[in-house]
Amino acid sequence: MKVAIFPPNSLILADLVERKGHEALVLQKEIRKKVTDPEIDSPPFNITEEEPIKGLKYAAIEVPSGIRGRMAIFGPLIEEAEAAIIMEDAPYGFGCIGCARTNELSMYFLRKRGIPLLEIHYPNTRDGTMEVVNKINTFLDELKAKEA
């Protein structure tokens, strides 16, 4: 099953999803398409004026172009998702390079999709981490059971 994770570049979430045999929809896969293209229109990355236009599908024209540009990359992953794991309160620097409004919008779209969703908080302690890992594994096992 394709599982969207939030923050979309989290090592822990992506690793746990793959361990259970699901496909993690991570931001790096989308970024790879942009940076390994032989034609780089706008060095160093292939982020052009097209991205904020594509982002109009997810956010209104009044929304800053930075958010629309980020949504153009993360939006297709949300649409592809069959399940999602959202980890809130992750430290600054996680997610769409720390853009709080993009994070809010992405979480809103994931919740609105109506797919199986697990919401957890970023752990800071040993017990918290173990509980979060167990919750994620239980959620992923349930997904596998539903799939079978």
Binding site: D15, R32, P91, D141
Partner: protein, 140 residues
């Protein structure tokens, strides 16, 4: 750059309780004899190649110490001048995030070692009648 589009990059990260070192990890990756670019790093290694070979290497390497070897996709190929620390100076983008997540990897490994099935339902409120019944039972 031709042919690079089908190639993928993976970061292999060793947890703090890993039973193998970075150099051992790189040695083992070379021993797999897969057509991969392997780069040794402070957290483990970065491998780059065709998706099939990369996933094959990841599954074989994970078997060495399953709860303490973690992997993550990476968008940029290893040593890319747009990201490589050697060319730019300063910490690579994404390093601080990795550093923060590394703090929890030991606990994640522990949880993977002794898995438990937990209830995903949030604990809810109980009715006053039910609470009264529990209080009466406790008083007995």
């Amino acid at each position: 750059m031709s042919g690079n589009e089908s190639k993928v990059t993976r970061m292999i990260i060793l947890g703090p309780a890993a039973k193998i070192s970075q150099s051992e990890l790189v040695g083992k990756l070379h021993m797999l004899e897969l057509p991969l670019t392997i780069k040794s790093t402070c957290y483990g290694s970065v491998i780059h190649g065709e998706e099939k070979d990369v996933l094959d290497a990841v599954s074989k390497i994970r078997k060495l110490d399953p709860p303490n070897i973690f992997t993550k996709d990476r968008g940029f190929p290893p040593g890319d001048p747009r990201r490589c620390r050697a060319k730019r100076g300063g910490a690579r983008e994404g390093f601080h995030q990795l550093e923060k997540e590394f703090e929890l990897l030991g606990y994640v490994g522990e949880a993977l070692d002794c898995p438990e099935v937990v209830d995903l339902k949030e604990p809810g409120k109980i009715s006053p009648e039910e609470f009264r019944k529990i209080a009466w039972e406790c008083e007995k």
